[in-house]
Protein backbone atom coordinates (compact mmCIF):
# COMPACT_ATOMS: atom_id res chain seq x y z
CA UNK A 1 0.00 0.00 0.00
CA UNK A 2 1.42 3.39 -0.93
CA UNK A 3 2.03 6.09 1.66
CA UNK A 4 -0.61 8.32 0.03
CA UNK A 5 -3.32 5.71 0.38
CA UNK A 6 -2.31 4.93 3.99
CA UNK A 7 -2.69 8.62 4.88
CA UNK A 8 -5.92 8.89 2.86
CA UNK A 9 -7.44 5.96 4.75
CA UNK A 10 -6.26 7.40 8.04
CA UNK A 11 -7.85 10.75 7.19
CA UNK A 12 -11.12 9.12 6.17
CA UNK A 13 -11.20 7.03 9.31
CA UNK A 14 -10.36 9.98 11.53
CA UNK A 15 -13.36 11.95 10.23
CA UNK A 16 -15.59 8.94 10.91
CA UNK A 17 -14.10 8.13 14.34
CA UNK A 18 -14.18 11.70 15.54
CA UNK A 19 -17.86 11.84 14.56
CA UNK A 20 -17.33 14.86 12.29
CA UNK A 21 -18.91 12.92 9.45
CA UNK A 22 -21.70 11.65 11.67
CA UNK A 23 -22.64 15.19 12.67
CA UNK A 24 -22.48 16.20 9.00
CA UNK A 25 -24.59 13.24 7.89
CA UNK A 26 -27.27 13.74 10.54
CA UNK A 27 -27.60 17.40 9.63
CA UNK A 28 -27.49 16.54 5.93
CA UNK A 29 -30.28 14.00 6.22
CA UNK A 30 -32.32 16.43 8.34
CA UNK A 31 -31.75 19.05 5.66
CA UNK A 32 -33.00 16.80 2.85
CA UNK A 33 -36.03 15.74 4.90
CA UNK A 34 -36.89 19.35 5.73
CA UNK A 35 -36.53 20.31 2.08
CA UNK A 36 -38.83 17.47 1.05
CA UNK A 37 -41.51 18.37 3.57
CA UNK A 38 -41.37 22.06 2.63
CA UNK A 39 -41.47 21.51 -1.11
CA UNK A 40 -44.22 18.88 -0.71
CA UNK A 41 -46.61 21.55 0.58
CA UNK A 42 -45.32 24.33 -1.68
CA UNK A 43 -45.57 22.24 -4.86
CA UNK A 44 -49.12 21.27 -3.84
CA UNK A 45 -50.16 24.90 -3.39
CA UNK A 46 -48.56 26.00 -6.65
CA UNK A 47 -50.36 23.23 -8.53
CA UNK A 48 -53.71 24.29 -7.06
CA UNK A 49 -53.13 28.01 -7.72
CA UNK A 50 -51.97 27.62 -11.29
CA UNK A 51 -54.81 25.25 -12.14
CA UNK A 52 -57.29 27.89 -10.98
CA UNK A 53 -55.63 31.02 -12.41
CA UNK A 54 -53.74 30.16 -15.57
CA UNK A 55 -55.44 30.71 -18.93
CA UNK A 56 -54.23 27.42 -20.43
CA UNK A 57 -52.89 24.04 -19.33
CA UNK A 58 -49.64 24.74 -21.17
CA UNK A 59 -49.03 27.98 -19.31
CA UNK A 60 -49.80 26.20 -16.06
CA UNK A 61 -47.33 23.42 -16.87
CA UNK A 62 -44.60 25.92 -17.65
CA UNK A 63 -45.16 27.82 -14.44
CA UNK A 64 -45.14 24.63 -12.37
CA UNK A 65 -41.96 23.45 -14.05
CA UNK A 66 -40.29 26.81 -13.50
CA UNK A 67 -41.19 27.09 -9.84
CA UNK A 68 -40.18 23.49 -9.17
CA UNK A 69 -36.80 24.18 -10.74
CA UNK A 70 -36.39 27.37 -8.71
CA UNK A 71 -37.06 25.57 -5.45
CA UNK A 72 -34.69 22.81 -6.38
CA UNK A 73 -32.00 25.39 -7.13
CA UNK A 74 -32.63 26.97 -3.74
CA UNK A 75 -32.14 23.59 -2.14
CA UNK A 76 -28.97 22.97 -4.13
CA UNK A 77 -27.65 26.38 -3.19
CA UNK A 78 -28.09 25.60 0.51
CA UNK A 79 -26.57 22.14 -0.01
CA UNK A 80 -23.56 23.72 -1.72
CA UNK A 81 -23.10 26.08 1.18
CA UNK A 82 -23.22 23.19 3.66
CA UNK A 83 -20.68 21.24 1.56
CA UNK A 84 -18.35 24.23 1.59
CA UNK A 85 -18.70 24.60 5.35
CA UNK A 86 -17.88 20.90 5.68
CA UNK A 87 -14.87 21.32 3.39
CA UNK A 88 -13.53 24.19 5.50
CA UNK A 89 -14.18 22.41 8.79
CA UNK A 90 -12.46 19.22 7.63
CA UNK A 91 -9.40 21.01 6.32
CA UNK A 92 -8.84 23.79 8.84
CA UNK A 93 -7.48 21.80 11.75
CA UNK A 94 -5.80 18.99 9.90
CA UNK A 95 -2.19 20.02 9.23
CA UNK A 96 -2.23 23.03 11.57
CA UNK A 97 -3.60 20.92 14.41
CA UNK A 98 -1.15 18.08 13.90
CA UNK A 99 1.82 20.42 13.65
CA UNK A 100 0.66 22.20 16.79
CA UNK A 101 0.16 19.02 18.80
CA UNK A 102 3.30 17.33 17.45
CA UNK A 103 1.31 14.36 16.08
CA UNK A 104 2.92 15.06 12.72
CA UNK A 105 6.41 14.38 14.08
CA UNK A 106 6.14 10.61 14.19
CA UNK A 107 4.47 10.64 10.75
CA UNK A 108 6.96 12.97 9.05
CA UNK A 109 9.98 10.98 10.30
CA UNK A 110 8.77 7.84 8.57
CA UNK A 111 10.30 6.86 5.21
CA UNK A 112 7.66 8.79 3.25
CA UNK A 113 7.68 12.09 1.40
CA UNK A 114 6.03 15.07 2.97
CA UNK A 115 4.06 15.41 -0.25
CA UNK A 116 2.50 12.00 0.54
CA UNK A 117 1.08 13.44 3.76
CA UNK A 118 -0.55 16.41 2.02
CA UNK A 119 -1.80 14.44 -0.99
CA UNK A 120 -3.06 11.61 1.22
CA UNK A 121 -5.06 14.01 3.33
CA UNK A 122 -6.39 15.71 0.23
CA UNK A 123 -7.52 12.39 -1.18
CA UNK A 124 -9.18 11.34 2.09
CA UNK A 125 -11.09 14.61 2.31
CA UNK A 126 -12.01 14.44 -1.38
CA UNK A 127 -13.63 11.04 -0.78
CA UNK A 128 -15.53 12.33 2.25
CA UNK A 129 -16.74 15.42 0.41
CA UNK A 130 -17.79 13.31 -2.57
CA UNK A 131 -20.07 11.27 -0.33
CA UNK A 132 -21.34 14.39 1.40
CA UNK A 133 -22.16 16.29 -1.80
CA UNK A 134 -23.80 13.19 -3.22
CA UNK A 135 -25.96 12.78 -0.11
CA UNK A 136 -27.06 16.42 0.03
CA UNK A 137 -27.41 17.36 -3.62
CA UNK A 138 -28.47 13.86 -4.64
CA UNK A 139 -31.10 14.01 -1.90
CA UNK A 140 -32.48 17.33 -3.17
CA UNK A 141 -32.58 16.19 -6.78
CA UNK A 142 -34.11 12.83 -5.88
CA UNK A 143 -36.72 14.43 -3.63
CA UNK A 144 -37.70 16.86 -6.38
CA UNK A 145 -37.82 14.04 -8.94
CA UNK A 146 -40.05 11.87 -6.77
CA UNK A 147 -42.45 14.74 -6.12
CA UNK A 148 -42.57 16.31 -9.56
CA UNK A 149 -41.01 13.89 -12.02
CA UNK A 150 -38.56 16.63 -13.00
CA UNK A 151 -34.85 16.13 -13.41
CA UNK A 152 -32.59 19.13 -13.97
CA UNK A 153 -30.74 19.63 -17.22
CA UNK A 154 -27.09 18.54 -17.28
CA UNK A 155 -27.41 16.98 -13.84
CA UNK A 156 -23.97 15.33 -13.79
CA UNK A 157 -22.12 18.42 -14.98
CA UNK A 158 -23.96 20.50 -12.39
CA UNK A 159 -23.20 18.12 -9.51
CA UNK A 160 -19.63 17.78 -10.73
CA UNK A 161 -19.17 21.55 -10.57
CA UNK A 162 -20.68 21.73 -7.09
CA UNK A 163 -18.32 18.96 -5.99
CA UNK A 164 -15.43 20.82 -7.55
CA UNK A 165 -16.37 23.95 -5.61
CA UNK A 166 -16.21 22.03 -2.32
CA UNK A 167 -12.86 20.52 -3.43
CA UNK A 168 -11.56 23.97 -4.22
CA UNK A 169 -12.50 25.33 -0.78
CA UNK A 170 -11.03 22.20 0.88
CA UNK A 171 -7.77 22.59 -1.07
CA UNK A 172 -7.46 26.27 -0.16
CA UNK A 173 -8.12 25.35 3.48
CA UNK A 174 -5.49 22.59 3.37
CA UNK A 175 -2.97 24.99 1.85
CA UNK A 176 -3.62 27.65 4.50
CA UNK A 177 -3.56 24.98 7.20
CA UNK A 178 -0.01 24.04 6.22
CA UNK A 179 1.08 27.60 6.96
CA UNK A 180 -1.27 29.06 9.58
CA UNK A 181 -2.95 27.91 12.83
CA UNK A 182 -6.41 26.37 12.54
CA UNK A 183 -8.40 29.38 13.67
CA UNK A 184 -6.61 31.77 11.30
CA UNK A 185 -7.12 29.26 8.49
CA UNK A 186 -10.86 29.05 9.15
CA UNK A 187 -11.13 32.83 9.34
CA UNK A 188 -9.29 33.40 6.07
CA UNK A 189 -11.28 30.72 4.22
CA UNK A 190 -14.64 32.12 5.25
CA UNK A 191 -13.36 35.63 4.45
CA UNK A 192 -12.39 34.50 0.95
CA UNK A 193 -15.72 32.74 0.54
CA UNK A 194 -17.52 35.96 1.58
CA UNK A 195 -15.45 37.88 -0.95
CA UNK A 196 -16.39 35.45 -3.72
CA UNK A 197 -20.04 35.63 -2.65
CA UNK A 198 -20.19 39.45 -2.80
CA UNK A 199 -18.23 39.46 -6.06
CA UNK A 200 -20.73 36.99 -7.46
CA UNK A 201 -23.64 39.23 -6.50
CA UNK A 202 -22.05 42.30 -8.04
CA UNK A 203 -21.57 40.35 -11.26
CA UNK A 204 -25.18 39.08 -11.12
CA UNK A 205 -26.58 42.58 -10.82
CA UNK A 206 -24.19 43.71 -13.49
CA UNK A 207 -25.68 41.02 -15.70
CA UNK A 208 -29.25 42.06 -14.92
CA UNK A 209 -28.56 45.78 -15.37
CA UNK A 210 -26.18 45.29 -18.31
CA UNK A 211 -23.45 47.08 -16.35
CA UNK A 212 -20.04 46.10 -17.73
CA UNK A 213 -18.03 47.51 -14.84
CA UNK A 214 -19.98 45.45 -12.31
CA UNK A 215 -19.47 42.33 -14.45
CA UNK A 216 -15.73 43.02 -14.58
CA UNK A 217 -15.56 43.41 -10.79
CA UNK A 218 -17.24 40.03 -10.52
CA UNK A 219 -14.83 38.43 -12.96
CA UNK A 220 -11.81 39.83 -11.14
CA UNK A 221 -13.17 38.47 -7.85
CA UNK A 222 -13.61 35.11 -9.53
CA UNK A 223 -9.99 35.21 -10.63
CA UNK A 224 -8.95 35.82 -7.01
CA UNK A 225 -11.16 33.01 -5.79
CA UNK A 226 -13.22 31.12 -8.36
CA UNK A 227 -15.47 29.19 -5.94
CA UNK A 228 -18.67 31.19 -6.51
CA UNK A 229 -18.25 31.09 -10.28
CA UNK A 230 -18.33 27.28 -10.06
CA UNK A 231 -21.69 27.44 -8.31
CA UNK A 232 -23.05 29.91 -10.83
CA UNK A 233 -21.96 27.75 -13.73
CA UNK A 234 -23.49 24.72 -11.99
CA UNK A 235 -26.73 26.67 -11.54
CA UNK A 236 -26.66 27.72 -15.18
CA UNK A 237 -26.25 24.10 -16.26
CA UNK A 238 -29.15 22.85 -14.15
CA UNK A 239 -31.69 25.66 -14.25
CA UNK A 240 -34.38 26.02 -16.90
CA UNK A 241 -33.65 28.81 -19.40
CA UNK A 242 -36.51 30.93 -18.06
CA UNK A 243 -35.38 30.74 -14.42
CA UNK A 244 -32.05 32.16 -15.49
CA UNK A 245 -33.65 35.44 -16.50
CA UNK A 246 -34.68 36.23 -12.91
CA UNK A 247 -31.95 37.51 -10.65
CA UNK A 248 -31.48 35.64 -7.37
CA UNK A 249 -28.52 34.19 -5.54
CA UNK A 250 -29.82 30.72 -6.36
CA UNK A 251 -29.82 31.22 -10.09
CA UNK A 252 -27.55 32.77 -12.63
CA UNK A 253 -27.92 35.71 -14.97
CA UNK A 254 -24.26 36.32 -15.83
CA UNK A 255 -22.83 32.95 -16.82
CA UNK A 256 -19.17 32.21 -16.03
CA UNK A 257 -17.44 31.04 -19.20
CA UNK A 258 -15.91 27.64 -19.87
CA UNK A 259 -12.59 29.42 -19.75
CA UNK A 260 -13.39 30.42 -16.17
CA UNK A 261 -14.13 26.76 -15.37
CA UNK A 262 -10.77 25.73 -16.81
CA UNK A 263 -9.19 28.51 -14.78
CA UNK A 264 -10.89 27.20 -11.60
CA UNK A 265 -9.53 23.72 -12.29
CA UNK A 266 -6.03 25.04 -12.86
CA UNK A 267 -6.37 27.19 -9.73
CA UNK A 268 -7.18 24.07 -7.69
CA UNK A 269 -4.11 22.24 -9.03
CA UNK A 270 -1.84 25.21 -8.31
CA UNK A 271 -3.19 25.61 -4.76
CA UNK A 272 -2.66 21.89 -4.12
CA UNK A 273 0.90 22.17 -5.43
CA UNK A 274 1.41 25.19 -3.18
CA UNK A 275 0.08 23.25 -0.18
CA UNK A 276 2.67 20.53 -0.81
CA UNK A 277 5.41 23.06 -1.31
CA UNK A 278 4.66 25.03 1.88
CA UNK A 279 4.43 21.86 3.94
CA UNK A 280 7.71 20.55 2.50
CA UNK A 281 9.56 23.74 3.25
CA UNK A 282 8.39 24.34 6.79
CA UNK A 283 9.89 23.29 10.11
CA UNK A 284 7.76 20.84 12.06
Amino acid sequence: MSAISIIARLTFREAIRRRIMLAGLVLGVAFVILFSIGTHFIFGDIAKDTAANMPSQMAADILIAESTNTFMMMGLYAATFLSIAMAALLGADTLAGEINSGTIQTIATKPIRRADVVLGKWLGFAELLGLYVLLLCGGIVLSTFIQSGQLPENLLIGLGLIYMESLLIMTITLMLSSAFPALATGGIVFGLYGLAFIGGWVEQFGGLLQNDTAIKVGIITSLVIPSESLWRRAAFEMQTPLTGTFGSPFTTTSVPSSLMMAYAFLYLIVILFLAVHIFQARDL
Binding site: A3, I6, R17, I107, T109, P111, D283
Partner: protein, 304 residues
Amino acid sequence: MTDAIDAHLLRKVFGDYAAVKGLTLQVKQGEVFGFLGPNGAGKTTSMKMLLGLIAPTSGEAALLGKPIGNREVMSRVGFLPEHFRFQEWLAADEFLLLHGQLLGMKKEDLEQRRAELLERVGLTPFRNKHLRTFSKGMLQRVGLAQALLNRPALVFLDEPTSGLDPVGRRLVRDVIREVRAQGTSVFLNSHLLSEIEVTCDRVAFIQHGEVVRVLEMASLSNDQTSVTIRVSNLAAESLNGLSQWGREIQIDGEFLHMIVPSDTVLPEVTRYLVSQKAEVYSITPNRMSLEDIFIETVGKDGGL
Protein backbone atom coordinates in the same frame (compact mmCIF):
# COMPACT_ATOMS: atom_id res chain seq x y z
CA MET B 1 32.34 1.37 10.35
CA THR B 2 30.28 4.47 9.53
CA ASP B 3 29.01 6.45 12.48
CA ALA B 4 25.36 6.22 13.41
CA ILE B 5 25.30 10.00 13.59
CA ASP B 6 27.88 12.33 12.17
CA ALA B 7 26.98 15.99 12.53
CA HIS B 8 29.21 18.81 11.44
CA LEU B 9 28.53 22.41 12.47
CA LEU B 10 24.76 22.08 12.30
CA ARG B 11 23.26 25.49 12.88
CA LYS B 12 19.70 26.74 13.24
CA VAL B 13 18.72 30.36 13.42
CA PHE B 14 15.15 31.46 14.20
CA GLY B 15 14.91 35.13 13.25
CA ASP B 16 17.97 36.63 14.91
CA TYR B 17 18.22 33.96 17.60
CA ALA B 18 20.61 31.06 17.07
CA ALA B 19 18.89 28.12 18.76
CA VAL B 20 21.76 25.83 17.74
CA LYS B 21 25.05 27.56 17.08
CA GLY B 22 27.09 24.78 15.58
CA LEU B 23 26.54 21.19 16.58
CA THR B 24 29.38 18.82 15.87
CA LEU B 25 29.23 15.30 17.23
CA GLN B 26 29.68 11.66 16.31
CA VAL B 27 27.68 8.77 17.67
CA LYS B 28 29.18 5.33 17.06
CA GLN B 29 27.08 2.41 15.96
CA GLY B 30 25.83 0.36 18.88
CA GLU B 31 26.44 2.93 21.58
CA VAL B 32 23.98 4.64 23.88
CA PHE B 33 24.67 8.33 23.59
CA GLY B 34 23.32 10.77 26.15
CA PHE B 35 22.53 14.33 25.16
CA LEU B 36 22.60 16.64 28.14
CA GLY B 37 22.12 20.30 28.65
CA PRO B 38 20.14 22.89 30.52
CA ASN B 39 16.65 23.91 29.36
CA GLY B 40 16.76 25.93 26.16
CA ALA B 41 20.23 24.70 25.21
CA GLY B 42 18.94 23.55 21.83
CA LYS B 43 18.62 19.82 22.51
CA THR B 44 15.24 19.26 20.90
CA THR B 45 16.04 21.54 17.95
CA SER B 46 19.25 19.58 17.39
CA MET B 47 17.37 16.30 17.46
CA LYS B 48 14.72 17.60 15.06
CA MET B 49 17.42 18.72 12.63
CA LEU B 50 19.00 15.27 12.69
CA LEU B 51 15.57 13.75 12.01
CA GLY B 52 14.81 16.08 9.11
CA LEU B 53 11.89 17.79 10.85
CA ILE B 54 13.70 21.11 10.94
CA ALA B 55 15.89 22.29 8.09
CA PRO B 56 19.31 23.43 9.33
CA THR B 57 20.30 27.00 8.46
CA SER B 58 23.79 25.69 7.69
CA GLY B 59 26.03 22.73 8.35
CA GLU B 60 25.56 19.10 7.46
CA ALA B 61 24.90 15.77 9.06
CA ALA B 62 24.60 12.12 8.15
CA LEU B 63 22.60 9.32 9.74
CA LEU B 64 23.94 5.81 9.17
CA GLY B 65 26.20 7.18 6.46
CA LYS B 66 23.54 8.99 4.42
CA PRO B 67 22.72 12.71 4.44
CA ILE B 68 19.80 13.64 6.72
CA GLY B 69 16.34 13.36 5.20
CA ASN B 70 17.23 10.23 3.19
CA ARG B 71 14.09 8.09 3.00
CA GLU B 72 15.85 4.73 2.90
CA VAL B 73 17.67 5.61 6.12
CA MET B 74 14.47 6.71 7.84
CA SER B 75 13.10 3.18 7.46
CA ARG B 76 15.94 2.11 9.80
CA VAL B 77 15.43 4.93 12.31
CA GLY B 78 13.04 5.08 15.26
CA PHE B 79 11.84 8.17 17.09
CA LEU B 80 9.96 8.85 20.29
CA PRO B 81 9.24 12.59 20.48
CA GLU B 82 9.01 14.60 23.67
CA HIS B 83 5.45 15.27 24.89
CA PHE B 84 4.41 12.41 22.71
CA ARG B 85 1.12 13.13 20.91
CA PHE B 86 -0.66 10.98 18.36
CA GLN B 87 -3.91 9.91 16.84
CA GLU B 88 -5.81 9.48 20.11
CA TRP B 89 -8.87 8.07 18.35
CA LEU B 90 -6.89 4.96 17.38
CA ALA B 91 -6.60 1.85 19.53
CA ALA B 92 -3.07 0.96 20.70
CA ASP B 93 -2.75 -1.90 18.22
CA GLU B 94 -4.18 0.16 15.33
CA PHE B 95 -1.71 2.88 16.19
CA LEU B 96 1.22 0.47 15.87
CA LEU B 97 -0.28 -0.94 12.67
CA LEU B 98 -0.43 2.55 11.16
CA HIS B 99 3.16 3.35 12.01
CA GLY B 100 4.37 -0.04 10.83
CA GLN B 101 2.61 0.49 7.50
CA LEU B 102 4.20 3.91 7.15
CA LEU B 103 7.56 2.21 7.76
CA GLY B 104 6.74 -0.08 4.87
CA MET B 105 6.87 -3.22 7.01
CA LYS B 106 5.63 -6.56 5.70
CA LYS B 107 2.22 -7.62 7.03
CA GLU B 108 3.32 -10.82 8.84
CA ASP B 109 6.43 -9.24 10.31
CA LEU B 110 4.44 -6.25 11.50
CA GLU B 111 1.80 -8.45 13.08
CA GLN B 112 4.40 -10.41 15.02
CA ARG B 113 6.30 -7.28 15.99
CA ARG B 114 3.17 -5.50 17.26
CA ALA B 115 2.29 -8.40 19.55
CA GLU B 116 5.90 -8.70 20.71
CA LEU B 117 6.29 -5.01 21.56
CA LEU B 118 2.87 -4.61 23.18
CA GLU B 119 3.86 -7.51 25.42
CA ARG B 120 7.27 -6.00 26.12
CA VAL B 121 5.86 -2.63 27.24
CA GLY B 122 3.11 -4.33 29.21
CA LEU B 123 0.16 -3.12 27.14
CA THR B 124 -1.18 -6.40 25.75
CA PRO B 125 -4.36 -6.21 27.89
CA PHE B 126 -5.00 -2.69 26.52
CA ARG B 127 -4.28 -3.36 22.87
CA ASN B 128 -7.84 -2.63 21.76
CA LYS B 129 -8.36 0.39 24.01
CA HIS B 130 -8.37 3.82 22.43
CA LEU B 131 -5.33 5.94 23.14
CA ARG B 132 -7.53 8.75 24.47
CA THR B 133 -8.26 6.57 27.49
CA PHE B 134 -4.53 6.01 28.18
CA SER B 135 -2.61 7.58 31.05
CA LYS B 136 0.54 9.56 30.34
CA GLY B 137 2.71 6.61 31.30
CA MET B 138 0.80 4.23 29.02
CA LEU B 139 1.15 6.66 26.13
CA GLN B 140 4.87 6.86 26.73
CA ARG B 141 5.02 3.06 26.59
CA VAL B 142 3.05 2.75 23.36
CA GLY B 143 5.22 5.55 21.94
CA LEU B 144 8.32 3.57 22.82
CA ALA B 145 6.88 0.48 21.12
CA GLN B 146 6.22 2.64 18.06
CA ALA B 147 9.85 3.79 18.00
CA LEU B 148 11.12 0.20 17.99
CA LEU B 149 8.71 -1.38 15.48
CA ASN B 150 11.22 -1.58 12.64
CA ARG B 151 14.09 -2.91 14.80
CA PRO B 152 15.85 0.40 14.14
CA ALA B 153 19.61 0.67 13.68
CA LEU B 154 19.34 4.06 15.36
CA VAL B 155 16.67 5.25 17.73
CA PHE B 156 16.08 8.78 19.03
CA LEU B 157 14.44 9.02 22.43
CA ASP B 158 13.47 12.51 23.57
CA GLU B 159 12.79 12.46 27.32
CA PRO B 160 11.53 8.86 27.23
CA THR B 161 11.01 8.61 30.99
CA SER B 162 9.13 11.85 31.56
CA GLY B 163 5.78 11.07 33.08
CA LEU B 164 6.75 7.53 34.00
CA ASP B 165 6.61 6.02 37.46
CA PRO B 166 9.64 4.11 38.80
CA VAL B 167 8.39 0.86 37.25
CA GLY B 168 8.04 2.53 33.88
CA ARG B 169 11.46 4.11 34.16
CA ARG B 170 13.01 0.75 34.91
CA LEU B 171 11.22 -0.66 31.86
CA VAL B 172 12.64 2.05 29.58
CA ARG B 173 16.10 1.45 31.00
CA ASP B 174 15.86 -2.29 30.41
CA VAL B 175 14.52 -1.80 26.89
CA ILE B 176 17.43 0.54 26.08
CA ARG B 177 19.86 -2.15 27.26
CA GLU B 178 18.09 -4.80 25.21
CA VAL B 179 18.15 -2.85 21.96
CA ARG B 180 21.78 -1.91 22.58
CA ALA B 181 22.60 -5.59 22.97
CA GLN B 182 21.04 -6.10 19.52
CA GLY B 183 23.37 -3.47 18.08
CA THR B 184 21.02 -0.50 17.97
CA SER B 185 22.50 2.94 18.57
CA VAL B 186 20.48 5.03 20.99
CA PHE B 187 20.44 8.82 21.05
CA LEU B 188 18.98 9.71 24.42
CA ASN B 189 17.87 13.16 25.42
CA SER B 190 17.02 13.32 29.10
CA HIS B 191 16.99 15.61 32.07
CA LEU B 192 17.24 12.72 34.45
CA LEU B 193 20.96 12.47 35.04
CA SER B 194 20.63 9.32 37.09
CA GLU B 195 18.95 7.80 34.04
CA ILE B 196 21.77 8.82 31.74
CA GLU B 197 24.35 7.68 34.25
CA VAL B 198 23.18 4.10 34.27
CA THR B 199 22.34 3.69 30.58
CA CYS B 200 24.79 5.71 28.50
CA ASP B 201 28.20 4.83 27.09
CA ARG B 202 29.02 8.43 26.32
CA VAL B 203 27.42 11.76 26.98
CA ALA B 204 27.67 15.15 25.32
CA PHE B 205 27.00 18.34 27.22
CA ILE B 206 25.35 20.98 25.11
CA GLN B 207 25.12 24.61 26.07
CA HIS B 208 24.01 27.61 24.00
CA GLY B 209 23.62 25.25 21.07
CA GLU B 210 27.14 23.87 21.09
CA VAL B 211 28.74 20.71 22.39
CA VAL B 212 30.95 21.87 25.24
CA ARG B 213 32.14 18.50 26.50
CA VAL B 214 31.98 14.83 25.57
CA LEU B 215 32.53 12.30 28.29
CA GLU B 216 33.08 8.52 28.35
CA MET B 217 30.91 7.22 31.15
CA ALA B 218 33.39 4.42 31.86
CA SER B 219 36.04 7.01 32.68
CA LEU B 220 33.80 8.37 35.43
CA SER B 221 34.35 5.32 37.60
CA ASN B 222 38.14 5.42 37.20
CA ASP B 223 39.47 8.87 37.61
CA GLN B 224 38.76 11.22 40.46
CA THR B 225 37.02 8.80 42.75
CA SER B 226 36.08 9.96 46.19
CA VAL B 227 36.17 7.17 48.79
CA THR B 228 34.45 6.79 52.09
CA ILE B 229 36.19 4.38 54.49
CA ARG B 230 34.57 3.32 57.72
CA VAL B 231 37.41 2.73 60.09
CA SER B 232 38.21 2.80 63.83
CA ASN B 233 41.42 2.73 65.88
CA LEU B 234 43.19 4.92 63.42
CA ALA B 235 46.14 6.82 64.89
CA ALA B 236 46.59 10.46 63.90
CA GLU B 237 50.09 9.81 62.51
CA SER B 238 48.74 6.97 60.35
CA LEU B 239 46.32 9.47 58.81
CA ASN B 240 49.19 11.54 57.43
CA GLY B 241 50.62 8.49 55.70
CA LEU B 242 47.49 8.26 53.52
CA SER B 243 48.45 11.41 51.64
CA GLN B 244 50.72 9.35 49.37
CA TRP B 245 47.58 7.84 47.74
CA GLY B 246 45.09 10.69 47.86
CA ARG B 247 44.19 14.21 48.82
CA GLU B 248 41.53 16.15 50.71
CA ILE B 249 41.66 13.67 53.52
CA GLN B 250 39.00 14.31 56.14
CA ILE B 251 37.96 12.33 59.16
CA ASP B 252 34.42 12.50 60.45
CA GLY B 253 33.97 10.18 63.43
CA GLU B 254 34.31 6.65 62.05
CA PHE B 255 34.18 7.89 58.47
CA LEU B 256 37.26 8.79 56.55
CA HIS B 257 36.82 10.66 53.26
CA MET B 258 39.48 11.11 50.64
CA ILE B 259 39.83 11.66 46.90
CA VAL B 260 42.02 9.20 45.03
CA PRO B 261 43.18 9.54 41.40
CA SER B 262 41.90 6.08 40.57
CA ASP B 263 40.16 3.21 42.32
CA THR B 264 43.17 1.01 41.49
CA VAL B 265 44.95 2.38 44.59
CA LEU B 266 42.23 1.16 46.94
CA PRO B 267 43.80 -2.28 47.70
CA GLU B 268 47.07 -0.56 48.71
CA VAL B 269 45.16 1.87 50.94
CA THR B 270 43.45 -1.08 52.60
CA ARG B 271 46.74 -2.93 53.21
CA TYR B 272 48.25 0.23 54.68
CA LEU B 273 45.34 0.78 57.07
CA VAL B 274 45.44 -2.83 58.22
CA SER B 275 49.23 -2.65 58.74
CA GLN B 276 48.63 0.42 60.92
CA LYS B 277 46.40 -1.75 63.16
CA ALA B 278 43.25 0.13 62.18
CA GLU B 279 39.91 -1.73 62.02
CA VAL B 280 38.45 -1.39 58.54
CA TYR B 281 34.68 -2.04 58.21
CA SER B 282 33.98 -0.87 54.72
CA ILE B 283 35.43 0.95 51.74
CA THR B 284 32.94 2.69 49.43
CA PRO B 285 34.13 4.39 46.27
CA ASN B 286 31.77 7.26 45.32
CA ARG B 287 31.85 8.01 41.65
CA MET B 288 31.88 11.67 40.99
CA SER B 289 28.25 11.97 40.00
CA LEU B 290 27.14 13.11 36.59
CA GLU B 291 25.24 15.84 38.38
CA ASP B 292 28.51 17.20 39.80
CA ILE B 293 30.01 17.19 36.34
CA PHE B 294 26.90 18.72 34.84
CA ILE B 295 26.98 21.64 37.28
CA GLU B 296 30.74 21.98 36.83
CA THR B 297 30.31 22.07 33.04
CA VAL B 298 27.30 24.32 32.52
CA GLY B 299 27.62 26.39 35.71
CA LYS B 300 25.19 26.79 38.59
CA ASP B 301 22.99 29.17 36.63
CA GLY B 302 22.42 26.50 33.98
CA GLY B 303 24.09 28.72 31.40
CA LEU B 304 21.30 31.28 31.37
